[in-house]
């Protein structure tokens, strides 16, 4: 019911029926490594594979922007003359996705905008996964009061309306004077990344905490404890490498969450404002709402579909990763 995608928070634990191929059922019990097995399972998840290909193509397109973009981000496709205005030209061979209100090529702007959005998504996800992993693992190993407090805090974070938390914390961070030199203005990319990371690390922390709690009672941890390994070593050498699957899944869902959150912020006019014509996917989607009633359909369809495609493909890849690395499937013991 919550407006903003509750992908991680409400994603149910997938129940996997018996028919999924396991090492035994394929007669590969002795020779296949868990990683190969995960890869095999991922490849058997058809939507995930298709989405990986689409996503890879989109990323390639965006990364190779000097080759793929046809105009600069702030460049009109031709100067307006008395005969011919460059405003709102519908899709044609000059501008594949049409032009905007000052004659800029929407196709090129989408490429630049997606670049910025992907940067924001990835940076947020990496920071959030880093903090979330550290805090989640610490809480699970330490237990007790710290763990309780963390759980209560994350409970509230998950149930509280995401957009409200985003807006209130945005204002708060903006008023803290000593953060200004580090984060810059409220409309800078750095500020938005930090703001999103502050909010989404809690979901990662919960995932990691659960994973560490489940793993730390296993025999191989006991064995390494018996030979005298420190807590730090156990976490970094045994627990985290064994939780890499769920962490990766959380990473993908965090990327989507961040991209959509950026778009939502921009939609309400609180997103990053990059100056000198630069744009983000969220900004492009935000301008689309002014073009709904005026009938400039290309200004609406293309940004919306791009964002949708991005969210969809990353979600499906995450779903495939989850199926591939689900510990429930690793029957006959994990990789100890």
């Amino acid at each position: 019911m919550t407006d903003l995608l509750p992908s991680i928070a409400t994603a149910p634990v997938e129940f996997v029926p018996e028919t999924v191929p396991t090492a035994e059922s394929e007669g590969l019990a002795k020779s296949i490594s868990p990683r190969r097995m995960a890869l095999k399972r991922f490849l058997s998840h058809k939507p995930a594979v298709i989405c990986t290909v689409i996503l890879a193509m989109m990323v390639l397109f965006v990364v190779l922007s000097p080759l793929t973009a046809r105009y600069g981000v702030n460049e009109a496709i031709f100067p307006t003359t008395a005969e011919r205005s460059n405003r709102y030209i519908s899709p044609s061979s000059e501008a594949w996705f049409g032009t905007d209100e000052i004659g800029r090529d929407l196709y090129s702007r989408l490429i630049y905008g997606t670049q910025v959005s992907l940067q924001i998504g990835l940076a947020t996800a990496v920071i959030a996964v880093f903090i979330g992993t550290a805090v989640g693992a610490y809480a699970a190993m330490r237990g007790g009061f710290f763990d309780d407090v963390l759980m209560r805090v994350t409970d509230i974070f998950i149930a509280f309306p995401f957009l409200v938390a985003l807006l209130v914390i945005r204002n708060m961070l903006g008023e803290v004077p000593w953060l200004e030199p580090i984060l810059g203005e409220r409309t800078s990319i750095r500020f938005v990344i930090f703001l999103l990371a502050v909010l989404v690390w809690t979901t990662v922390a919960r995932v990691v905490r659960g994973q560490v709690l489940a793993l730390k009672e296993r025999e191989f941890i006991e064995a390494s404890r018996a030979v005298g390994a420190s807590n730090f070593r156990i976490v970094t050498r045994h627990l985290l490498p064994n939780s890499i699957g769920p962490i990766l899944v959380a990473l993908t869902f965090t990327v989507v969450l961040a991209i959509i959150a950026e778009a939502t912020l921009s939609f309400f006019g609180f997103g990053p404002q990059l100056g000198s014509g630069a744009t983000s996917l969220g900004n492009l989607v935000a301008t689309s709402k002014e073009n709904v009633l005026s009938g400039h359909w290309w200004m609406v369809i293309f940004p919306c579909v791009t964002l949708l495609l991005l969210a969809l493909t990353i979600n499906f890849v995450g779903d495939g990763l989850r199926d591939a690395t689900d510990p429930k499937l690793q029957r006959g013991g994990g990789r100890a």
């Binding site: 019911m1 919550t2 407006d3 903003l4 995608l5 509750p6 992908s7 409400t10 994603a11 149910p12 634990v13 997938e14 129940f15 029926p17 018996e18 028919t19 939507p47 209560r152 409970d155 509230i156 149930a159 509280f160 309306p161 957009l163 409200v164 807006l167 209130v168 914390i169 945005r170 204002n171 708060m172 903006g174 008023e175 803290v176 989507v256 959509i260 778009a263 939502t264 939609f267 309400f268 989607v285 689309s288 709402k289 709904v292 009633l293 009938g295 359909w297 609406v300 369809i301 919306c304 964002l307 949708l308 969210a311 969809l312 979600n315 499906f316 779903d319």
Partner: protein, 330 residues
């Protein structure tokens, strides 16, 4: 059971107090109420500003925050709410109307979404691994990935602009895209209201359907593969009865919990949909108050949202304990 309920209830009170205090501090720091008061009332005299500060307890420093919080809390509980900074209006009437609108939208969308979602989930779980299952699963993930503002904009464009261009005669396809009633409408008209609700309800229900069908599928699958269901079948009970009396009842347990939590998130969770459809609900109320920095309007809103979240989380726990005899509480 009684002890558990009482203990949870006793814990809920300090939780609400602590969270509302944190929210209070966050809003005090974030909106700077005095500055936004001056922004909205530029000709306010020194005495007026002082009166505003006194009324809202906007004292400086950490001690001032604590003192101000308790002053605000006292006023809130006794019904003595400060007036809004814009237009100096009482807060409760607006908040009440907004809440009624949001609840109407949210409850209808929940009912539609939950019923469709549960049917999808059951259909998928009955034939795991089939084409139908795969189709429903993929559709659900697609629906879950659609950000609400995208679906809202696309629906608005389709039904607000293009159906009128393409099918100028089919008036049933021309759906209103904003508000509860057309501008200038007076009085109560359920048909008109329902027509205005179609698109917002669709936007909200898309996500609800996806969430519930995924939950229902995994919950029912787990139940269907359990030992007690094999026992029920072995006793010779008909498949239909096995499904309805044994499997469904157990599979519904997590759904009830989920519904309670989701319902708690409803009040503050429809902001995006409401804003796009200019629907005068709590979301619209919040965004207006937020951009005005209207402290007297923001605080009651926050408190209601926080209380809803905490109380419905509590209800979720309690309902689970009440419905599932396997859970023992003491």
């Amino acid at each position: 059971m009684v002890r558990f309920v009482v203990r949870r209830l006793i814990w809920a009170v300090p939780t609400i107090l602590i969270v509302t205090f944190l929210v209070y501090v966050a809003i005090r720091i974030g909106t700077d109420p005095v500055a936004s008061y001056l922004r909205s009332n530029q000709r306010a005299s020194e005495a007026k500003v002082q009166e505003y500060i006194e009324q809202n307890g906007l004292y400086e420093g950490f001690g001032g925050y604590v003192k101000g919080y308790f002053q605000w809390l006292g006023g809130f509980l006794t019904g003595d709410w400060p007036h809004s900074i814009k237009g100096n209006q009482p807060v409760w009437p607006n908040l009440k109307d907004a809440m009624a609108n949001t609840l109407r939208l949210g409850i209808i969308a929940s009912l539609v979404g939950i019923s469709i979602g549960l049917v999808f989930g059951v259909l998928a779980a009955l034939k795991p691994g089939s084409l139908r299952d795969g189709g429903i699963n993929t559709t659900a993930l697609v629906m879950l990935s659609i950000p609400p503002f995208i679906s809202a904009i696309l629906l608005q464009m389709l039904f607000g602009v293009y159906t009128q261009r393409w099918f100028p005669d089919a008036s049933w396809l021309h759906l209103p895209v904003a508000g509860v009633y057309p501008p200038g409408h007076q009085g109560f008209d359920p048909v008109l209201m329902a027509k205005h609700l179609i698109l917002p309800v669709t936007v909200v229900a898309i996500q609800t359907v996806a969430i519930y069908s995924r939950y229902m599928r995994s919950s029912l699958l787990e139940t269907l593969n359990s030992d007690y269901l094999r026992t029920a079948r072995a006793k010779g009970i008909s498949e239909r009865r096995v499904l309805v009396r044994h499997a469904m009842r157990n599979a519904m347990l997590p759904i009830v919990t989920l519904a309670a939590i989701e319902f708690g998130a409803l009040l503050g969770g429809l902001i995006i949909t409401e804003r796009i459809f200019s629907y005068p609900g709590l979301g619209d109320y919040f965004l207006t108050a937020y951009s005005n920095g209207d402290f007297p309007e923001l605080m009651p809103w926050m408190v209601f949202v926080v209380i809803a979240v905490i109380v419905f989380n509590l209800l979720a726990d309690l309902s689970y304990a009440r419905l599932d005899p396997r859970i023992r509480l003491d």
